[in-house]
């Protein structure tokens, strides 16, 4: 099935669907459409993957550049306003 105006209308709801923020009636309408429209199924799947990637983007952040880390540690150790004398 080629995309049509109905698809365009439903595309606007795909993210709410992914986030579980769609009403039950809209959910049922969207799911009915998805069963018949492989194009929208693919779009939903790739949007889901995009969101999953973003959720995992900071799972293992790269280490700080060493010079920046050294500056920050030095700055913190100089600061220490909380130090109990």
């Amino acid at each position: 099935m080629e995309r049509n105006d109905h698809c365009l209308d439903l595309i606007d709801r795909l993210n709410d669907y992914l986030d579980g923020e769609l009403s039950a009636a809209s959910c049922a309408e969207l799911e009915e459409h998805l069963r018949q429209c492989p194009e929208c199924q693919e779009l939903l799947a790739s949007l889901q993957q995009t969101v999953d990637l973003l959720h995992h983007l900071d799972d293992l952040p790269p280490p700080l550049p060493p010079a920046l880390e050294d500056r920050l540690i030095h700055q913190m150790q100089q600061q220490m306003p909380f130090k109990q004398h």
Binding site: R3, C7, L8, I11, D12, L14, N15, D16, D19, E21, E39, E42, L43, S46, L47, Q49, T50, V51, D52, L53, L54, H55, H56, L57, D58, D59, L60, P61, P62, P63, L64, L68, E69, D70, R71, L72, I73, Q75, M76, Q77, Q79, M80, P81, F82, K83, Q84
Partner: protein, 204 residues
Amino acid sequence: MPGPIIDLSLYDDEQALLAGLRRGDPDACTCFVKRFAPLVYARALHLLGDADDAENVLQTTFIKACAALPEYTGAGSLSSWLYRIASNEGLMLLRQKRPQVALDAVGELAPDETALPHKTTWAIDPARNVLDGELRREIAQAIAELPDALRTVIVLRDIEQLSTEETAERLGISPGAVKVRLHRARLRLREALARYVEASSSDR
């Protein structure tokens, strides 16, 4: 010059780390930075899209956290507390730098959103592939290229994983506006990823 080797596991426990910081132990400072700074910096970089600005936010965040430590009650995790300071600092910096383009301005959103998304099928395992540096850089670049109004929403909603309501509150916009922007931002990032996946597969 590398500093002395220290045992980072000494402060694995958050309460021990807090106690170490409060008594001014330099090793606790080092552990605090090594443990939390990479993620604070990564989040700031996503939010601001600029390395100098991200470094600025990183330093301010740790200075403010130090100053606030005596009053920190330990409710919630230390990391959530720090990331909240960092995203508030980041949003403040954005507003200062671009006062002429408010974060709630819809005018800066390009009117290209009615186009049907690019047709392509692809499958990426997110948990494995974000460890791939090239894909991570590609996503980071695509996020950096979004207009501020879209980038701030996607960072708070999909990277920091705040709720629609919390995101709306932080940005001072309505939950409806958050949803519209999130939708546009996700479609744009999906397009960027689709182009990347297509280009990578045609290279093989």
